[in-house]
C-alpha cells in the first residue's frame, strides 16, 4: 500500500480519484492547499505528492511553496493542457512527472494504469474486511451494521458503472462521495440501490466530518427518500408502458442531459426502465418525467402511434388536398356535429316497436269459445 497526498484546490478532483480507483492499493488523502499539507510535519508517510489544479497559477504557487521547504518526496503535477513554457517552469520546480489532467474518466483510468510501478493492483480478496451483494441486503440495513460495529473505514458501493463510497469514523457516517452530489444526497442514492455489490475497507485515514446529521437522522432521511420514490411512481399512470417523445418535440428547448434522456426514449422506454438506468437522483428524474408526461412532451405508446400516423398522413397528402382541408375544414366539422343529432332522432323513432299482431279472426273465434265456456 502506498499513500499519496493529493493537493487539490477543487475537491471534485480528489473525489474522482477515490471513487474510480478504489481498487488500487493506493491510499489518497486530500489537502486543500500547500499550507495545509505542510502543517503535517511527518512527511515520511507519503510516497508521492500529487498537485492537481485547474489554475496554472495555483499549481505554480503550491509547487514553489513545496520547493521552499525542500521536501524530498517525489512530486507529480497535473493541470489541464499545460503549454510548453508552463511545462518548462514545472520541470524547473523539480517536478518528477507532469500528467496532463484528463478530460475523461476513461483517460484517467488508462493513465493511472500506465504508471504500473506505482499503481499496480493486488489480489482483491486480501483487501476487504467485508464484501457482499446489494441484491440480498437493504442499503440502510447494511449501513446500520457498520454503525453498530463502531468501525472506521470506507464502504465502497459499486453498481456497474456507478461507483461511490461512504466513510465511517467510529461508527458515525462522516462523508460520502458519489458523482458530484453533496454527501447526504450521495448516501440517500447509494442506500436505495438494489443491485451491485459493496465492500468495506478498514482505514484510519478518513475525511473530516462532512455530514452533520446523526446516524438515526440519516436513516430517517433514507426511508423518507424511498417513500418519496414510491409516491412518485404511484402518481404516474402506467409506469411500465413504453413512452416516446412527442414526434414534434423541439429538442433545442431542452438542456444536454434532458436531451440525452429524450433521445434514449426514441426507441420507447418505460418510466421504470428510465428510473433504473438513471445514475443520479432517482426522485429528481421521476419528478421530471411526470412533468413531461403531464405536458405531453412524452407520450404512451398508443397515443404516440396515433399522433405519428396523423402527422404522416398530413405529410403524405398532396398540396391541393392540404389547401382544401384548410379551406373546408370548418364546414366538415359543422357537418359532423349535425349528423349525430339526426341519428339520435332516428333512433327514438325506431325504438317504438310496431304492433304486428294481425290474426284478429282467430281472436274473435277464441273470444266466442270463451264466452260459451264462462
Amino acid at each position: 500500500m502506498i499513500t499519496v497526498a493529493v493537493l487539490a484546490k477543487e475537491k471534485a478532483h480528489f473525489d474522482l480519484l477515490i471513487t474510480q480507483y478504489n481498487r488500487l492499493p493506493v491510499h489518497f488523502r486530500w489537502f486543500e492547499s500547500g499550507e495545509h499539507f505542510l502543517e503535517h510535519k511527518n512527511f515520511d508517510e507519503w510516497q508521492v505528492v500529487w498537485v492537481i489544479g485547474k489554475s496554472f497559477k495555483w499549481v505554480e504557487e503550491t509547487l514553489a511553496l513545496l520547493n521552499e521547504r525542500q521536501i524530498e518526496i517525489p512530486i507529480v503535477c497535473s493541470t489541464p493542457e499545460p503549454k510548453q513554457d508552463q511545462r518548462q517552469l514545472f520541470w524547473q520546480l523539480k517536478v518528477r512527472e507532469i500528467i496532463p489532467w484528463p478530460v475523461h474518466r476513461q483517460e484517467l483510468e488508462f493513465l493511472i494504469k500506465s504508471y504500473n510501478e506505482i499503481f499496480a493492483p493486488t489480489d482483491e480478496q486480501e483487501k476487504y474486511a467485508f464484501q457482499g451483494s446489494l441484491e440480498f441486503i437493504n442499503g440502510v440495513d447494511l449501513l446500520r451494521t457498520f454503525t453498530k460495529a463502531t468501525s472506521t473505514g470506507v464502504l465502497y458501493l459499486h453498481w456497474s458503472e456507478r461507483k461511490g463510497r461512504i466513510e465511517f469514523k467510529n461508527g458515525q457516517i462522516v462523508n460520502a462521495v458519489y458523482h458530484q452530489m453533496d454527501p447526504l444526497t450521495a448516501v440517500l442514492i447509494m442506500a436505495s440501490w438494489e443491485h451491485g455489490f459493496a465492500f468495506f475497507k478498514e482505514d484510519q485515514f478518513v475525511s473530516k466530518r462532512m455530514i452533520m446529521l446523526t446516524n438515526e437522522q440519516i436513516f430517517k432521511e433514507c426511508s423518507d427518500y424511498k417513500k418519496e420514490t414510491q409516491r412518485l411512481l404511484s402518481t404516474i399512470t402506467n409506469p411500465n408502458t413504453l413512452y416516446y417523445p412527442h414526434p414534434e418535440l423541439n429538442y433545442e428547448e431542452f438542456g444536454p442531459n434532458e436531451r440525452k434522456i429524450l433521445r434514449e426514449m426514441r426507441k420507447g422506454k418505460s418510466i421504470t426502465m428510465l428510473a433504473e438506468s438513471y445514475e443520479g437522483d432517482i426522485n429528481f428524474i421521476l419528478k421530471k418525467l411526470k412533468n413531461w408526461a403531464d405536458q405531453q412532451f412524452i407520450l404512451p405508446e398508443e397515443q404516440y402511434l396515433q399522433i405519428k400516423e396523423q402527422i404522416e398522413e398530413q405529410e403524405n397528402a398532396s398540396g391541393i388536398k392540404r389547401l382544401m382541408q384548410k379551406l373546408f375544414g370548418k364546414k366538415e366539422i359543422e357537418n359532423i356535429s349535425e349528423e349525430p343529432e339526426r341519428e339520435s332522432e332516428d333512433k327514438v323513432a325506431s325504438s317504438v316497436l310496431e304492433y304486428r299482431f294481425a290474426r284478429k279472426d282467430i281472436l274473435q273465434e277464441i273470444q266466442n269459445r270463451l264466452e260459451d265456456m264462462f
Binding site: V352, L353, F357, L363, I366, Q367, R369, L370
Partner: protein, 177 residues
C-alpha cells in the same frame, strides 16, 4: 277440430311471484330462441293459453321481450303491490311497444281502493284484470283472457264507432243544408 292457442306475455317483477298464487304451474323455458320462461293452461280440449313470463329484474329476459311482444295480441303487467315501479314500467312499456297492455292484480278490496285513490291510475281501472286465487287455474285464466279480449274488442271498435258517428253527423248536417 282446429286447436287454437292464445299467446300472451306477463311483465312481472320476479317471475317466481306468480307461484305464490298458482303453485301448481309448470313453468319451463322455451326450447327455441328467445328462451323465455313460460307456462301453458289448457282451457278446453281445443283451446290453450301460452303465457310468457318476462322478468323485469333480469335484463337479458327484458331485452328478449322485443321478440315476443309486438307479435302477441296483448300483454299483462302483474301488480302485487302498487308502487312507483309499476308506474315507471307502464311508461317504459308504452315508450317501446304499441301492443295493448292490461294490468293483472289479485281481487283485493285494499288494492282496489288504492287504485281508485291514485288519480293517474283511476282512469285505467277498466284496464285492470282482477283475479281470484281461490278459483281453479282454468277458471281464473279463462276469465282473465275473456275480460282482456272484450276490452281489446272494445278498444278496437270504439274508434270505428266514433268515426261512423262523426260521419253520420256530418251527413245529417249536409242534408239539412
Amino acid at each position: 277440430m282446429k286447436r287454437n292457442v292464445l299467446e300472451i306475455a306477463i311483465i312481472i317483477r320476479d317471475w317466481s311471484l306468480i307461484l305464490d298464487y298458482w303453485p301448481q304451474l309448470n313453468i319451463s323455458e322455451t326450447l327455441f330462441p328467445p328462451h323465455l320462461k313460460h307456462f301453458t293452461v289448457e282451457l278446453n280440449e281445443d283451446l290453450e293459453l301460452l303465457v310468457y313470463l318476462i322478468d323485469t329484474l333480469s335484463k337479458k329476459e327484458y331485452n328478449l321481450a322485443d321478440r315476443i311482444i309486438p307479435f302477441i295480441p296483448f300483454s299483462l303487467l302483474f301488480i302485487s303491490q302498487l308502487d312507483a315501479i309499476h308506474e315507471s314500467l307502464w311508461q317504459t312499456y308504452h315508450q317501446r311497444y304499441q301492443t295493448p297492455l292490461f294490468f293483472l292484480a289479485q281481487d283485493d278490496p285494499e288494492l282496489k281502493d288504492k287504485i281508485v285513490m291514485r288519480e293517474d291510475l283511476a282512469s285505467k281501472l277498466s284496464n285492470v284484470m282482477f283475479f281470484n286465487p281461490e278459483d281453479s287455474l282454468t277458471l281464473s285464466w279463462g276469465l282473465i283472457s275473456k275480460q282482456c279480449l272484450e276490452n281489446l274488442q272494445y278498444e278496437n271498435t270504439q274508434p270505428q264507432q266514433m268515426e261512423e258517428e262523426t260521419q253520420k253527423e256530418s251527413s245529417e248536417t249536409d242534408s239539412s243544408d
